[in-house]
Structures are given as structure tokens and as C-alpha cells.
């Protein structure tokens, strides 16, 4: 079984970091995983994305045309990636910045005000962590516990002071759909 995820948003929203944390959580679960960023002439304020593939066997294509899950934090990313979700797949969007619309009928839509939740915790910077929480709630493959472990691993000793806020944001994301 192989599934892939695309994380996309504005440069600066932390989608590459969120993708790195998800990939680490899969690694900690002992799964095969790859993470691949869009690269080239990307810049702050432009859109940025990364792709995570998780598999029981060695990951085949690292970079695929379509995706099982798209996690989008801004409108441009929604417009771009809603087309690339597989039939039966899911798009998860930050409704703080994305207008709630359903241009296709063959995919599942999850809207959550991730930016507002992050702001209520004190920082828009943790929107990405809130989004990971929403993803964990939506997708059985993703484990909240392993995400928390991955946040700790990725922040490391150097950025330990940010751990409590990030974990709080992850937790808040997990509860956002209730």
C-alpha cells in the first residue's frame, strides 16, 4: 500500500516543515517514506509545496502527478491542487484563507479555520501545526502520538522552547473538527 500527500501554501507558512514532521512521524513508525520539495525559483510570498509518499514497501515514484491527500493553507494552493487530488481522495483546507467551495464532486473536502485557531493560541506561525492535527483527525494513516514525537525530534534541543506551543497547536488541530 502506497499513499501520498501534498502540503502547499505561501512561502513562510511552514508547509515544508509540516511535511518534514509528517515524514519523520512515518519514519518513527517504521514505515518507508520520502519527502520531496518543489525547488527552483521559489520565493517568500510565492507558493511552495512538498510531497510525502508513505509505503509498506520501498517507495516507488517520489514525485507523482496525483495525490491521495492535499493539505492546502492558501487559496492559490487550493485552486492548483484540488485538480490533482485522486478521485476518492481528500483535500484539507485552511478556511481562514481559503473560500469554502467544492469544484469537484468525486473528492472529499475538509475545511477548518486553521489560521484562526493558531491566532487564538497566540501565533499565526503555528498554523502548520494546527493543520497537521486536522490531518491526523482525517487520515487513519497519520498518528497523533507519532506526530508529537516527530515535532520534538525536528525542533531538537536548539528550539526546545517552542515545543509547548507547537504541541498545543497540534492538539488544537486534532480537536478542530469535533
Amino acid at each position: 500500500m502506497e499513499k501520498n500527500f501534498i502540503f502547499a501554501g505561501f512561502g513562510g507558512q511552514g508547509v515544508l516543515l509540516a511535511g518534514t514532521i509528517l515524514a519523520n512521524s512515518f519514519m518513527l513508525q517504521g514505515k518507508n517514506v520520502t519527502w520531496y520539495p518543489c525547488y527552483g525559483a521559489e520565493m517568500r510570498g510565492g507558493t511552495v509545496n512538498c510531497e510525502i509518499v508513505v509505503s509498506d514497501t520501498e517507495v516507488s515514484s517520489v514525485h507523482k502527478q496525483d495525490t491521495d491527500f492535499a493539505l492546502v493553507l492558501n487559496q492559490q494552493s487550493f485552486d492548483k491542487f484540488v485538480k490533482r487530488v485522486k478521485a476518492g481522495g481528500t483535500i484539507i483546507a485552511n478556511s481562514t484563507l481559503v473560500t469554502e467551495s467544492k469544484p469537484r464532486t468525486d473528492i472529499k473536502y475538509i475545511f477548518a479555520p486553521m489560521g484562526d485557531i493558531a491566532n487564538s493560541l497566540g501565533s499565526a506561525k503555528v498554523t502548520n501545526m494546527v493543520s497537521l492535527g486536522v490531518l491526523a483527525d482525517t487520515c487513519d494513516l497519520v498518528s497523533k502520538e507519532y506526530l508529537a514525537k516527530a515535532v520534538e525530534l525536528v525542533l531538537g534541543e536548539k528550539k526546545k522552547q517552542f515545543l509547548p506551543l507547537n504541541l498545543k497547536a497540534l492538539e488544537a488541530g486534532c480537536g478542530a473538527l469535533v
Partner: protein, 359 residues
């Protein structure tokens, strides 16, 4: 970072750290996407370790610094990408002729010319046949995973010193930019004694020299023959490849580098459809596993080469098969890697066509 623990790491950083673990004393480079992280990582780590890091004025400068450092017997490396590796070809011919253990990493992007920064596999010919002058051969290793980026970087340093021959690690932008769990372990090879040839100062002994210029015709001929005999020994000892499901296969999918991942998955998918497919991937592109491909072809297996160029390894496979079997090409010059689905449907078409002709 010498540890048995798995870490999620980018291919570029993995190559850089593996070079450190392998004992690389000098790195010379010039930034170019998609391999800039190698130099970035080493610019911080090498000075901390008291080793040499120079951001050269150009790729020409970088490779010639590697030539100079290698002549002293230390492990030295440069890394770059396609169009800038092209600039280094003259020095690679010199390094071969001088028998220097230079290690060169090519994280391929799309060409020809300046091309673009996205991944491609268009430098197979440049790596295997070279753009430098004269009869020369370098060893070329092609990793397909981040773990292999580490393992083959270790092997590159060892083979370079063991045989006094330049070695190229031929990766691509996909491998350089992606992250995957990998384990560094320890550098698994013994240290090679270089004291008989390394130029470290002649105090207390007679002088030695390393030069590529021939002093007379006979000496030149003897040298070329000796170097080619050495490469035959390399071919005998070091040619490596991987294969699976080839035993009962009707068709063998062949690829190098990161495309290997896709042909493995395509083989599984074809088997599920009842098509007897197998896969084969050369690990050393030079020396090439010509003999093994010929054996498989003799057993009546057809080949399909899958690569992201206009058919470069295809020619080597065709040469190896030597008319004993069919060989087809599934390719794209650059851009999106050929997907598993595309490979499966192309193979089905190829096989359908073949059977149609038989009837």
C-alpha cells in the same frame, strides 16, 4: 554523524556527511542547483573538523584544486551539476592520466546547455564516456535511494584510492532534494596506503613526479595499455548490479539511478497482471555489467530500458545484448519522472506488439 540510528535526511546532506565519514580532507566546489546543499553543509562542517573547504572561483578552479589535493594522497572531492560538470571534463581526463583518486559528485539536472534545475538523467554519456580527450575511463556509481547515496559515497572514496582512478557518483536532482530515512553507520572500508606515489615532499628521499605528458611514443603506448589493463581488473572486481524476478522473466525492465525505484514497482504491477517481468539495474555504470545482460539475453529474455534521457544507457544495453534479444526504450528527455502506470502501459504495448508480430 556516525550512528546506526535512522535519520530522515536529504540526499545532498547525506552525500556531504558520508564524505566526512569517509575521511574526505578537502572539498572544493561552486554552488549550482540542485546540489548546492552539499557545499553549504561542508562549508560549516569541514572548518570545524580542521579540514579544507574552498568555495572556488569557478567549477574549473574547483576540479583542478581536487586534482592538486589528490596528488598529495589526501581524499578530495568536488560536487556539481550537469552543465558545470561539463566544465570539469578536461581535468577528469588529466586525473585519469595522472592516476589520481579524485571523487566527483554529479547531481544531474536537465540539459543540454544551461537546461533547467529539475531532475534528469541526461549525463549518462558524459559520465560513462566522458567529455575529456583521449582514451580514458572513470568509475561511475549510480545510487537510487538516499541510503545508497551514503553507501556509494563511501565506496567512491575507497575505489578511487584503491585503484588510483577518478570516481563519479552520478545522482540526480530527485535524490539530491528528497529526504528519506537512512543510516550512516561507519565508513566500512580499510584505509589504502598511498605512500608509494603521493607527493608529500621529498625530504630525505628521492623526488617523485606525477605527470600526464608522454615523453616518447613507446612509453605512451605502454602507459595507456597499463591503464586499460587496470580498468579491466576494476571491471572484473567491482562491476555490480542488482536484479530480481529475472529467473522466469520474459521481459526485463532496466534502469539506473532513481528510476530504479519506478521499475521495481512497475515489475510488481506487471506480475500482478500475469506478465512475467523482472528488473535489472546496473550499480556501476562504468564498468558496465555487459556480461550479465548478455547472459540474460541468451536465456531469451527481452529488455526494456527506462530512462530520463533520449536513450543513452539504451545503447549500452543494446551493445551488451548483441542481437540475442529484443530491446526497447521507454523514455522522456526530462521533466516528470516516468510514472509506474506509464511504464506498465508502455511495457504492455511493447509486449502486445511483439506477440502481434509473432502471430
Amino acid at each position: 554523524m556516525i550512528s546506526d540510528k535512522k535519520v530522515l535526511i536529504k540526499g545532498n546532506y547525506a552525500i556531504a556527511q558520508a564524505a566526512i565519514n569517509a575521511g574526505c580532507q578537502c572539498y572544493f566546489g561552486y554552488p549550482i542547483t540542485p546540489q548546492t546543499e552539499i557545499g553549504e553543509y561542508l562549508s560549516a562542517k569541514m572548518p570545524e573538523l580542521g579540514r579544507g573547504y574552498v568555495c572556488a572561483e569557478s567549477e574549473l578552479g574547483a576540479i583542478n584544486m581536487v586534482v592538486g589535493a589528490s596528488a598529495t594522497g589526501v581524499k578530495a572531492m568536488t560536487s556539481s551539476s550537469s552543465c558545470a560538470i561539463a566544465l570539469m571534463q578536461e581535468a577528469l581526463s588529466y586525473a585519469y592520466s595522472d592516476e589520481l583518486p579524485a571523487v566527483v559528485v554529479n547531481v544531474m539536472r536537465a540539459g543540454p546547455g544551461l537546461g533547467y534545475v529539475y531532475p534528469a538523467q541526461g549525463d549518462y554519456n558524459q559520465a560513462v564516456y566522458g567529455g575529456g580527450n583521449g582514451d580514458y575511463k572513470i568509475i561511475v556509481l549510480a545510487p537510487s535511494t538516499v541510503q545508497e547515496c551514503i553507501d556509494y559515497t563511501y565506496r567512491a572514496f575507497y575505489l578511487a584510492q584503491k585503484y588510483r582512478n577518478p570516481v563519479m557518483l552520478l545522482a540526480d536532482g530527485l535524490l539530491g532534494q528528497m529526504m528519506e530515512p537512512a543510516c550512516f553507520g561507519e565508513y566500512p572500508y580499510p584505509e589504502v596506503d598511498v605512500s608509494s606515489w603521493a607527493l608529500k615532499g621529498a625530504k630525505g628521499r628521492d623526488g617523485k613526479a606525477i605527470y600526464s605528458c608522454a615523453r616518447d611514443e613507446q612509453e605512451h603506448i605502454r602507459k595507456i595499455e597499463r591503464l586499460f589493463a587496470k580498468f579491466e581488473l576494476i571491471a572484473e572486481n567491482e562491476t555490480s548490479y542488482e536484479e530480481d524476478l529475472t529467473k522466469d522473466a520474459d521481459i526485463v525492465l532496466t534502469a539506473f539511478g532513481s528510476m530504479t525505484r519506478n521499475i521495481k514497482a512497475a515489475t510488481r504491477a506487471l506480475r500482478e497482471k500475469g506478465i512475467k517481468a523482472g528488473w535489472f539495474r546496473p550499480i556501476t555504470l562504468s564498468p558496465f555489467p555487459t556480461k550479465r545482460i548478455y547472459e540474460l539475453a541468451k536465456e531469451g529474455k527481452d529488455f526494456v530500458v527506462v530512462e530520463m534521457n533520449m536513450g543513452q544507457m539504451f545503447k549500452d544495453v543494446k551493445y551488451a545484448i548483441n542481437g540475442e534479444a529484443h530491446v526497447d526504450l521507454i523514455n522522456r528527455p526530462c521533466g516528470e519522472w516516468l510514472s509506474v502506470e506509464e511504464i506498465v502501459s508502455s511495457v504492455e504495448k511493447i509486449m502486445g506488439g511483439k506477440y502481434a508480430n509473432c502471430i
